[in-house]
């Protein structure tokens, strides 16, 4: 036990004095989570919550423009920009600005659109109330086109979201116009007891079929957002990066002859191994706690939601411990297998980045192609992240993350046994 503790404290002291290693272990994951959460928070807002800026060139200057402005302002999803540097926009300037990437979307309401809409609605209503509608005229409906131009770098989902909002606004406007015309025709033919207000209420009032959004199951206090997902994801990434300093430390001991000296001491090798493992597990756990604090206290300073730990603190700790053990076991294996620092640093770092990408740290697993979703199941980061999301987003408990805990702990056992096996074989043969 004394020898275990001596090794534990020795390795902590060495890590503490390794400033570059500390930067990799603590500052890098914190910087990553800070940057990625802020970036993703902005993306989420751009695709859902905050207004997207769209250049509006209203050549028509009529009723359609007024209505579109009103409807988009009400929805809050899109903010229309009609002047740039205090000059009204024309089509050429707007296209140039969008093509240059200064704005992502432009909307052009061509001249005569309002009149065209009015004419077409009246025409259709007339057709409807005619005793013998002319089938040829029915097929000659006008096509009233509104132009939307976009920055070619804008990705599909974002483009679809903005176009949907615009289509929604124009469809609502067209429906309202048709309804108003229909109502007038009905009045002409049958007379009406309805007041002007009740007619407006029916045709242009607020929608009464609403979409109520809420997470399926779990703790309603734990709202899914960029912070709730990024804190555990990048914490795991940082924890697994322990592979780089740990494998480096093992190689240094091997190459500088310290291991040779250690092996001539009357100390069971498991005590040295366990002392080192626990030192690095402790570092991983400290790193994890710091990441939680970043989510709780630092990210909100930049306008993100506050990270919520939930009420399953012991389950969170147990999962963090399992992940730390898995990361340390992997570091031990890399450090044992590698023959040089370059091998350990390159393979260690690259394999962690691949495991993170597969595990859903960078892109959620559910948006991956089916094949990649299957492959992602072999990543320990996927087991850890799934467990943390279960606790932080889905409101799970220690029972519901049982398989995640077992998988991570099993990974630790397998990697540790493998590294001991390789080490023992090499030791016996002098390799």
């Amino acid at each position: 036990m004394k020898q275990f503790l001596a090794t534990f404290f020795k390795d902590l002291l060495i890590l503490w004095r390794d400033r570059a290693g500390m930067l990799v272990l603590f500052v890098m994951p914190m910087a990553l989570v800070l940057v990625v959460s802020l970036v993703q928070n902005n993306v989420l807002e751009a695709t859902g919550r905050a207004a997207v800026k769209v250049l509006l060139v209203d050549v028509d200057q009529g009723y359609v423009g007024q209505q579109v402005r009103q409807r988009l302002a009400d929805s809050g999803g899109i903010k229309l920009i009609e002047t740039v540097e205090e000059s009204p926009l024309d089509e050429v300037t707007a296209r140039q600005l969008v093509a240059a990437g200064d704005y992502q979307f432009g909307l052009l309401i061509p001249a005569g659109l309002s009149d065209g809409l009015q004419t077409e609605v009246e025409h259709q209503a007339e057709q409807l109330f005619r005793s013998y509608p002319d089938p040829e005229e029915q097929n000659e409906a006008l096509e009233l086109k509104v132009k939307v131009f976009f920055d070619p770098t804008v990705q599909g989902v974002f483009r679809t979201a903005v176009l949907s909002s615009l289509r929604h606004a124009f469809f609502g406007l067209e429906t309202a116009e048709k309804g108003r015309e229909l109502s007038q025709r009905l009045k002409q033919y049958f007379g009406s007891m309805k007041t002007q207000e009740s007619e407006q209420q029916l045709l242009g009032g607020n929608a009464f079929m609403l979409i109520d959004e809420e997470p399926a199951g779990g703790d309603p206090a734990l709202r899914p957002n960029a912070v709730q997902q990024n804190i555990p994801a990048w914490s795991l990434f940082g924890m697994f990066f322990i592979v780089v300093p740990l494998s480096g430390a093992l190689l240094r001991e091997r190459q500088e002859g310290t291991l040779r000296r250690l092996l001539t001491l009357p100390v069971p090798y498991w005590a040295l191994w366990a002392g080192k493992t626990m030192a690095y597990v402790t570092i991983c756990l400290v790193q994890f706690c710091l990441m939680l604090l970043v989510g709780k206290y630092i990210l909100p300073l930049f306008g993100t939601p506050v990270f919520e730990l939930g009420n399953q603190v012991s389950a969170v700790f147990l999962l963090a411990l399992s992940a730390a053990l898995a990361a340390t076991g992997y570091g031990l294996l890399i450090g044992t297998l590698a023959r040089s620092f370059d091998q350990a640093a390159m393979f260690g770092a690259v394999s962690v980045v691949i495991a993170a990408a597969l595990g859903g740290v960078m892109i959620p697993v559910y948006v991956m192609p089916k094949g990649m979703q299957l492959i992602s199941q072999i990543s320990p980061l996927a087991w850890g992240l799934d467990g943390f999301l279960e606790l932080f987003v889905r409101g799970g408990n220690v029972q519901s993350i049982g398989s995640n805990l077992l998988s991570l702990f099993g990974f630790f056992v397998v990697t540790t046994l493998l590294s001991l096996l390789v080490f023992t074989r090499r030791g016996r043969s002098g390799g």
Binding site: K2, Q3, A6, T7, K10, L13, I14, R17, D18, E256, G257, T258, R260, R261, L262, L263, T264, L265, P266, V267, G427, R428, S429, G430, G431
Partner: protein
């Protein structure tokens, strides 16, 4: 020079050691046999690749020989490695220390692994640092030491637990004359205190100065063994140990 009774019971008895590294065509040790009585400094000399470090590794229980016997302080070292490890100390060829820890922290760590603690650990640490002349630099990180200071710290760690048998694998390689002289003085003091040592070196004058008995090893075998002066005297055309060494091992480069 040799004040140890050769007929006394051997503290270290190596018999017919054979060892071959996996994949190697030639045996690293091919029937190596030596005997070291208590209190003697035994020099193991040989060109590069002669098998000195392999022999030390087996004697320190780091490697298992393919064949042979190894008895240390009466224990069969191949069967009772753990008991043997508490009786031996190793000063390896490399600076086997943690560079970011201070000299004192390194001694404390290795001392604790040897089971020392409390006042005894503190006392032994101070004694060893004092012996190697590092007491004034004990709290500096080893990485800031000069080459000679590192070698001395390496020696201090090897003796912190007062081993009965100390293995020194080229402990003065790559340092200046002053540091080398200090290490030789330290080792002479340890010899006077009765510590048994097995010493490998490429410096013949060191071996002549320090060792009561030497074995010249080549191709994994002992090709000459005896007191240094006697070995030189037995070869009429050699005036010193270096000439004898070159005569026995040849002038061809060993890379």
């Amino acid at each position: 020079m040799n004040d140890v009774d050769q007929t006394a019971e051997a503290l270290l008895l190596v018999e017919d050691l054979i060892f071959c590294y996996p994949g190697a065509a030639v045996k690293a040790l091919d029937g190596l046999t030596i005997s070291v009585p208590r209190g003697q400094v035994f020099g193991l000399l040989g060109p590069n690749g002669a098998g000195k470090t392999t022999a030390i590794s087996i004697m320190c229980t780091l490697l298992r020989p393919n064949r042979g016997q190894l008895t240390l302080c009466g224990f069969d070292a191949l069967k009772e490695a753990k008991k043997v490890r508490s009786l031996i100390g190793l000063v390896p060829q490399d600076i086997a220390l943690y560079p970011t820890l201070s000299g004192r922290e390194n001694l404390h760590y290795f001392g604790r692994l040897h089971g020392l603690s409390g006042i005894e650990l503190k006392q032994r640490t101070e004694e060893c640092l004092n012996l190697v002349g590092l007491l004034d630099h004990a709290d500096r990180a080893v990485e800031t030491y000069s080459g000679g200071m590192k070698r001395r710290a390496n020696l201090a760690v090897g003796i912190v637990h007062q081993p009965q048998l100390l293995f020194l694998d080229e402990p003065t390689v790559g340092i200046d004359a002053q540091s080398r002289n200090m290490i030789i003085e330290n080792l002479t003091r340890l010899k006077e205190s009765g510590m048994t040592m097995v010493y490998t070196t490429h410096y013949m004058e060191e071996a002549q100065q320090l060792c009561g008995r030497i074995a010249i090893v080549d191709h994994g075998q002992v090709i000459a063994e005896g007191e240094p002066q006697q070995l030189v005297a037995d070869q009429p055309d050699c005036t010193n140990l270096e000439e004898l060494f070159l005569q026995l091992t040849g002038r061809t480069l060993r890379d």
